[in-house]
Every structure is written in C-alpha cells, then in structure tokens.
C-alpha cells in the first residue's frame, strides 16, 4: 500500500514517522534519566501531556507557550533555508524583549504603546541578528560562534538594564512592567493566552509567503540548496545571508515583544531573564522537529508548547524538576540527527525494506 502513494506524500509520511520515532526514543531515554533520579516517568509524562492537551485550560496554556517558540523557530528555519546555522534567536529575543519593556519607563499617549513596543522589539532583534550577518558575510565568521557570543552579550546587557536602568520600583526581582495600555488583550480571561498568538501566526504566514512566494525567499532557498550554483546564477550570496539574519532577528525580536506585552502577570523581564531563558533554543527544537517548514513548525510548536505548559504540572504532581523538559528535547534532537532512523529500526524489526 505504501508503494501506491505518490512520491511527495510518501516523503512526508516517512518524515513524520522519523520524527515520531525520534520523539519516542528521546522520551524513553529521558524516562531512564528520571528513573535514575528516583522519579516515576509514567507519572511525569502523564502530567506533562495529558492535562495540557485534554483540558480547556491546558490547551489554552499550550497555545500560549507555543506563541513565542513559533517565532524563534522561524529564526532558525530561515537560517537553515539559506544554509546558515543561526542559533542566535535566544539573544535576539532578549534584545526584542528589552526593546518592548523599556516603554514601561516612558510616559506616552496610550495608543502609542503597543506599536512602539512592537517596532522597538523588531528593530533591536534585527540589529542583533544583522551583526552576526555582517560578521558572516564580510568577515567570514562562523555563525555558530558569533551567535552564541552575541547571546551571552545580550544576556548581560539586558540583565544590567534590569538591575541598573529599568528596575521595578516595588519588586527588585524584575524590570518595570509595561503599562496596561501597552499589553496585548487576553484571548481567554484567567489564562496566559493573549493576542500574541495571533501576531505569532501572522508572522508565520508572512514568513511562509516571503520564503515561497517572493523573489527574496527564492534566493534564500536557492543559496541554501546550492550556494555555488546560486552565485553563478547571479544571486548575491552575501546579501542573502544578511537578509536571512535580518528576517530571523525580526521574528525573534517579536518573540521577545510577545513575552513582555502578552504574558500575565508580570509583563516584565524577571531576574536572570528567567521568564525568557530558553525560548530561543526551544525554537531550535521546534524548527528541527518541524523540518524547518512553517507548517511543520506550527505542529511542532504545539508539541513543545504542551511540554512547556505541562512542565509546571509535572513539577507539582510528579515532583520532577521542570528542567527535565529540556533534557528530553535534547535527546529528541540527538535522535533526529541520525539519518534514516526509520529504515534502521524497520530493518531491525522485520526485515522490511
């Protein structure tokens, strides 16, 4: 039956099956890590997924956690499409959040808050992205090294700003909060699901359009597919790298905006950037699981979003530290890096070719 499907569909199904296998493998090994730590993995996985995918409140929280990681996933995906390994979404997102939260310290006519927060977040994200882009395009600096350095620089800049420039006058553990006029409306009262989700999906659609329907997207994909041939075809490879970093910086910056303007109750940046930390790397996982494709990213963001939403449940009811979520994510990525995982396993099971 499998042979009767047309090639493209078959390719999608194989890809899907490989992701499922990688996820199962990651979860099984993650389960072993929990057993060694003295926890009950069945309990933990139940708390991680069941409430966050089967209750109304759980689904709403899942979507709220999917919101920023769709955007940081796009950063990585646009990089990969151009043949770049941009792992700087983390720092670009910090800078975006900084751009948005600064308006908590500025008095403005209420109508201006949201647009200005959005613009500042986007601009700071893009600046942080384009630095790595310029270093890559004109100085040949490996983007893996430069983006990680920029992540750390962004971390300390934002942390310094939190402590010395825009501290919260009543609560030393965070920055000023953006005023009510500068917050995105909640989609469901009493949850953390805000209009940020709509923004996130609009940016996703925009990026899809950009990559597949516009000349610049065609150039990005061409360079990623074959840089040498693209150069002979007259594509400016340097410019494409810059564009890719700028688009990626934009989406990551907006992720920072969404967290500051769209997540109750703090609407601020907390100590050690704890409410932002890891959202950039979650996006990397989402993008890899979603085959760096906008549709795949949307589906994968719900999976990782559910894990993030469920991590609090897991910590409270199964008593497993919520860092376990990132541990499992890492294991899934390691499993995903093995090509033909499906083939290897099916050969083991029954000699099926």
């Amino acid at each position: 039956m499998f042979e009767m499907l047309d090639g493209r569909l078959r390719e999608y199904l194989t890809g899907f099956a490989e992701v499922v296998i990688a996820i199962v493998a990651g979860m099984v090994i993650g389960g072993l890590v929990m057993v060694i730590g003295g926890y009950n993995p069945v309990d933990a996985y139940y708390q991680l997924f069941v409430p966050s995918l089967t209750t109304k409140y759980g689904v709403e929280m899942t979507l709220s956690f999917a919101t920023p990681i769709i955007l940081t996933a796009l950063t990585f995906a646009v990089g990969v499409r151009a043949g770049l390994f941009n792992i700087g979404a983390e720092g670009q997102m910090y800078m975006g959040a900084l751009g948005a939260v600064i308006f908590g310290a500025i008095t403005l006519p209420s109508i201006l808050y949201l647009p200005l927060e959005f613009i500042a977040a986007a601009v700071l994200g893009m600046i942080w992205g384009v630095i790595a882009g310029i270093l890559k395009a004109y100085r040949g600096v490996n983007e893996v090294v430069s983006t990680i350095m920029l992540n750390w620089i962004a971390y300390w800049i934002v942390e310094s700003m939190r402590v010395y420039v825009i501290p919260n006058p009543v609560d030393a553990s965070k920055t000023v909060s953006v005023p009510p006029a500068g917050r995105l409306p909640l989609l469901v009262e009493g949850t953390e699901l805000s209009a940020a989700l709509i923004i996130s999906i609009l940016v996703l659609a925009f990026t899809y359009f950009l990559l597949w329907k516009m000349a610049v997207g065609y150039e990005i994909r061409a360079v990623g597919y074959n840089p040498l041939a693209s150069r002979y075809a007259g594509i400016n490879v340097r410019r494409v790298a810059l564009y890719s970093f700028i688009i990626g910086g934009f989406t990551a910056g907006i992720a920072g905006f969404c967290e500051v303007a769209g997540r109750p109750p703090s609407y601020a940046i907390t100590t050690g950037l704890s409410n932002l930390m890891g959202l950039g790397f979650d996006g990397l996982t989402v993008s890899l699981i979603g085959y760096n494709h906008p549709i795949g990213i949307l589906l994968a963001s719900i999976f990782i979003g559910a894990m993030k939403a469920g991590s609090r449940n897991m910590q409270i009811y199964a008593r497993v530290p919520l860092e376990m979520v990132q541990t499992v994510q890492g294991l899934i990525i390691i499993a995903l890096s093995i090509p033909g995982l499906l083939r290897i396993i099916s050969r083991r099971i029954g000699g099926v070719r």
């Binding site: 270093l135 990680i148 499992v328 995903l336």
Partner: protein
C-alpha cells in the same frame, strides 16, 4: 606591578585558558579527522557535573577527574559513532548534546544534590595544587604539545589529517576512515571532559547550571584562531583566557564601577572573542572535509 602580581596574573590567565586549551586541542584532533563537534559546551557541562558527583560521592578528587574524563569520552564516542558510521548531521547532534546538557545538569543538581542551580564542594575535595598551579593546567600544555607531535610528526597523525582533507584517498590506501574519525572524536570528548572536571572540581569548587558559560564555543573560536595547530592553540587559549581575567580585573576598578554597571563587564570575554575572530579573515583554513560525512561511491 611587582613579580608576585605578574605571577598571579599569569596563574589566573593559565586557569582561565585551561578549559579552552583542553577542549580546543581535542577539537583540533577531531576536526582534523573531519568530525566537527559544536557540542563541546554541553560535554564540558555534563562532565563538570559528573566530576562533582563522583568527587562528593567518594570524597576523592582523582575519581572526580576520572568521572569527568569518562563522561567526555562516552559523549565523544556517541558523537563520533553517529557522525562517522551513521553519517548523521554533526551540527545537529552537537546541538542536541548542548540542549540535553543544559537540561540534564540543571535537573541533576536538583535531583541529586537537592538544591536549585548551584552546588558547592568543600575545598578539601578540589584537585590539589602544585605551587599554586593546577596539575590539570600543566597537563593541558603538555597535551597540546603532544597533540602537535601526534598530528604532524607521526603516521597516525597523517592518517587522521587524511580523513579530514581527503577521506577518499585515505580510504583507498587502507585507512579505516570511520574508525579513525570515531577515535578522533572520542579524544575530543575525552579532553573536553577533562576541561569540565577542571571547571568544577579544580578551579571553581562548585557546579552551576551555566558553568561552561560559552567556553565550549570559545574553544571552537580558538581552533579557528590556531589554524588547526595545537601549538598555536596554546597562544589562542591564553589570549581568550586573558579576556576572562581582564573582565574580572576591570570589575574591581572603583571609579569605573561608579560609571558603568558591573554586570556589563561580563560581556568582555565574548565581545573580545568576536573581535578577534572577525579579524582572522582569510588567515585560517579548515580541513577540507570537516563536517561532511564520508560516503563511499
């Protein structure tokens, strides 16, 4: 500035450069064979934790160091096997290790030490020093010299470099490319594991969830700076190590502290690394087949 201050500055720089030099030396061997590992950061972090764990369980720093070495070796073997034999995507595997490490170490500090984020060991459990200098630091210099000798003066070194420069030619003269690559990756893991043990049970007498703090990636920058030569790696790691010392040193200047937030000085090592790497254009050339899985026709 007197002699004792200069000596102190030297020891501090040596300390800061040791993890960079160890990881960079290992990575030079790995990349010379064609295996790139961007998971050094994660290997360093997990090894740092395992070293503390074994050290406090057995109250024996030597066992702590061995645990760090063993952890690094294991992760190096896994990375090498996935890269060389399974033809996996090296950069994705390394990323997976980094993510795993960040989660695993934060989780393990809570699960095994029942504290969040930070665990300190007694100074009596740290690696004993020789005239104020860590034996691991001294070893790192010796290892770098030996690695140079191995890579450029022996038949084995030639085989390693052949796998990274032209795996097909190496294969045709009977070099077992996948085996050499896996072993080279294992050495990279082993030395990075020692770097991790140095961080936790030698230099800092503690483990934190962000202990490696980008050092794995600065080691990658050091590899580039050294142009895949372990002797130049010594110079590179001293340079990058010095920036860490400089950052700490500037923090203690009184009038500057009034002027600029102290936390901002933490950006110095990263900023300096970026500037140095940006200045390297065209001066270094990676092995031709680094990161490319070798597939027979």
């Amino acid at each position: 500035m007197n002699w004792s201050m200069i000596w102190q500055l030297f020891v501090q720089t040596l300390d800061a450069s040791t993890p960079l030099l160890l990881a960079a030396t290992g990575e030079i061997i790995g990349e010379s064979a064609g295996i790139a590992n961007i998971g050094l950061e994660g290997i360093m972090l997990i090894s740092a934790f395992m070293a503390v764990y074994a050290d406090s369980a057995f109250a024996n720093p030597l066992l702590g160091v061995l645990a760090g070495l063993a952890t690094g070796l294991l992760l190096g073997v896994v990375h090498g096997y996935i890269s060389a034999y399974m033809k996996g995507n090296q950069i994705v595997t390394g990323t997976g290790v980094n993510l795993f490490a960040a989660g695993f170490v934060a989780y393990s500090i809570i699960a095994f030490f029942h504290v969040a984020g930070y665990y300190t060991i007694d100074l009596s459990l740290t690696v004993p020093k020789i005239y104020g200098v860590s034996p691991i630091s001294i070893s790192s210099l010796i290892i770098a010299v030996l690695a140079y000798y191995l890579l450029f003066k022996t038949q084995i070194g030639l085989a390693i470099r052949a796998c990274g420069e032209n795996p097909e030619a190496a294969d045709s003269v009977g070099v077992r490319v996948e085996l050499v690559q896996t072993l080279a990756s294992s050495i990279a893991g082993l030395l990075t594991g020692l770097a991790g043990a140095f961080l936790s049970i030698d230099w800092n007498a503690s483990i934190t969830k962000q202990m490696s703090a980008g050092r794995g990636f600065i080691a990658l920058a050091t590899v580039n700076f050294a142009n895949w030569n372990p002797l130049l790696g010594i110079a590179g790691s001293f340079l990058f190590g010095f920036f860490w010392v400089l950052g700490e040193w500037i923090k203690n200047i009184g009038w500057l502290k009034q002027l600029i937030p102290v936390d901002l000085f933490n950006t110095i090592p990263y900023l300096a690394t970026l500037v140095v790497v940006a200045g390297l254009i065209g001066k270094s050339r990676p092995p031709k087949y680094v990161g490319v899985p070798y597939k027979r026709e």
